[in-house]
């Protein structure tokens, strides 16, 4: 048995914000009728979290649950638990039309930390990141320069970014370039 290795093995970059590859992280894609009581019941029993509303992400002590589309959620768990969680959910959802798939290895995750973190993302994504438009509890699937990604703020001074594993290096380089010293803009306002 060998140890799994994330796409960039925890690479980091220090600029006016810090960029770090989060490393191994468990992710389970869930598809189903988000409004159905039966579906919600299974998800809530497994995660201890309420199914989030449109473009929202909710956080528990260990797991987080994000709204991805009207019939899709993303469950964030520890990497070790991902396969078992997916299997358990698939089993619990067996009697209804739903899907639970482990996608942990398909993704790369990054953290961007610093009081100016909003503008680092504003350089890459066509999204209004002004505090009144986006903050802790929101999630946005969008475009990071030329690739798809999802962003949210685990707290008021950092972002987490998820993209596909194959473009991990591209996204890391993009974020690093955007966060390079000297490039600070002052828009949107610092947090």
């Amino acid at each position: 048995m060998s140890e799994p290795v994330s796409a960039l093995n925890g690479a980091s970059f220090g600029g006016y914000c810090d960029v770090t590859e989060i490393g191994l992280r468990g992710m389970v894609t869930l598809r189903g009728d988000l409004s159905a009581a039966a579906f919600k019941k299974v998800i809530e029993a497994e995660t201890g979290l309420t199914v989030p509303g449109q473009r929202k992400i909710v956080h528990g002590k260990v797991v987080s649950l994000a709204w991805m589309s009207p019939d899709e959620l993303l469950l964030l768990v520890s990497y070790r638990d991902a396969a078992a969680t997916a299997a358990r959910l698939a089993d619990s959802l067996n009697h209804q039309h739903a899907m639970a798939v482990d996608v942990s290895d398909a993704r790369a995750s990054f953290r961007i930390e610093g009081s100016a973190c909003r503008e680092v993302l504003a350089k890459l994504a066509p999204v209004d990141l002004y505090p009144e438009a986006f903050g802790h509890g929101d999630i946005r699937r969008t475009r990071l320069a030329q690739v798809a990604g999802a962003i949210w703020m685990p707290d008021e001074a950092s972002f987490e970014v998820v993209c596909f594993r194959s473009v991990a290096r591209y996204v890391f380089d993009l974020l690093s370039e955007a966060a390079r010293h000297g490039g600070q803009v002052g828009y949107p306002v610092e947090t």
């Binding site: 589309s69 066509p126 969008t142």
Partner: protein
Amino acid sequence: MLLITCPNCGVAAEETELHAGGEAHITRFGPEASENDFEDYLFRRENPRGVHFERWRHANGCGKWFHAARCTATLEVFGTYSAQTTEPPREILETIRAKRPAWTWRDLK
């Protein structure tokens, strides 16, 4: 650059997040179709200067398809609505009637 609100996730998305999918409300004709019906289905499209109904996908976003009613001349968007329907909803037709009394599209007016 267009700004269109995705009815599936509520985002007012700029064009770079979207993928245009051509004309909306096309009825599929399958193996038993006549040559004429099949030709209409595959190749005949409206090309209005004015109100048009289109399909779009929020490709760099929630990934879902939706419909939009849009003016091809002024680019005004009259509304967006679910992809899971065979005709535009009444509210959108009312909006268009109020703004463009003389409009027609296929047999709609």
